[in-house]
Amino acid sequence: MKTLAVIPAYNEEDRVADIVRGAAKHVDVVVVVDDGSTDSTSSKAREAGAMILTLPVNIGYGGALQAGYRYAQSNGFDALVQLDADGQHAPEDIPALLEPIMEGRCDLALGSRFLNPDSWHATFFRRAGMRFFSFLIRIFAGQRVTDPTTGFQAMNRRLIERVASGAYPDDYPDADVIVMLLREKFRIREVGVTMKPPPPGKSMHSGLKPLYYTVKMILSVLVVMIRGRGAGGVE
């Protein structure tokens, strides 16, 4: 099985090299998607052994991920694991995430911090938000997902084909994508992983962003429900 690690990165020159070296031990190819960085993220990642997809402009986390999916699709990868470049996700957990994919037990494996008692469990407000989105997923898609905002995921070829083509969120692909995939009958499992706190000032959920995130995500989940199955995804 040909495996790929996709690491979207935006101005992560201090951390990206370690993540690339860590991921390279567990997959065949590591791709860093440089989302318009203005620092030396690309060169640091290349020196560490990664393939670089340089986006000419910043298109957002979801758009960068989708570039990785499209690369995996056109280069015939059988399985893909995605992890953040800021060091929140431990590359040592990659085999555990890929295992259910390799064994054909699911199409998407989500790395959950809540299934690992040793992991960092986020701040109180963020945990409350996660519970709310878990509730939404259970209501609309009928499955319990403990960590709906996790960006540490692995997927098989069938799902790569699905997310590489068609609409995909530009900013935060979380609960809306999970609801969409569950409604399209993709099999999703959670795997306990270690997560570390985000580095200071790097969180996607600081300032007014949590408010925007919550409103946008609720709207996005509702739009998925209105569109129905196989209607081209979320945006």
Binding site: V33, M51, I52, L53, T54, L55, P56, V57, I59, G60, G63, Q66, A67, R70, Y71, S74, A167, D170, E235
Partner: protein, 120 residues
């Protein structure tokens, strides 16, 4: 409406039409967008020249004064234009995203290919 108001409104409409045509001529404004603005210019000119139409429209929508009618139509038009631009921007954002992804993938594949060729 006093003759002075009508002359002023007509002059504004004519100025708007001249500016739009000039922008299209200099390729600063695409024809597809100019149609909407030309319609506004013609609309203002017609309303300025044909006051009875303004009165009839005012009665039709139940407004008290004809100036309310003009402002209401102007507001509705601007809101629709904004919506139209939001739709266009959404489409363009999607197109830019796809282009950026395609360029990044093609660039990497090209580098790999040229690297492979150089090695052989």
């Amino acid at each position: 409406m006093s003759p002075r108001q009508r002359i002023f409104a007509l002059l504004v409409a004519i100025l708007l039409l001249v500016v739009i045509v000039d922008l299209v001529r200099r390729r600063k404004l695409r024809e597809e967008f100019s149609i909407l603005w030309l319609a506004v210019g013609v609309g203002v000119a017609v309303l300025a020249a044909w006051y009875d139409l303004q009165v009839w429209l005012t009665r039709l929508i139940g407004a008290v004064s004809s100036s309310t009618t003009v402002f209401l139509f102007a507001f509705v038009f601007l809101a629709l234009m904004n919506l139209h631009f939001s739709v266009r921007m959404s489409r363009m954002a999607d197109q830019i995203k796809k282009l950026a992804q395609t360029i990044a993938i093609m660039e990497t594949e090209l580098k790999n290919k040229s690297g492979g060729d150089a090695a052989t």
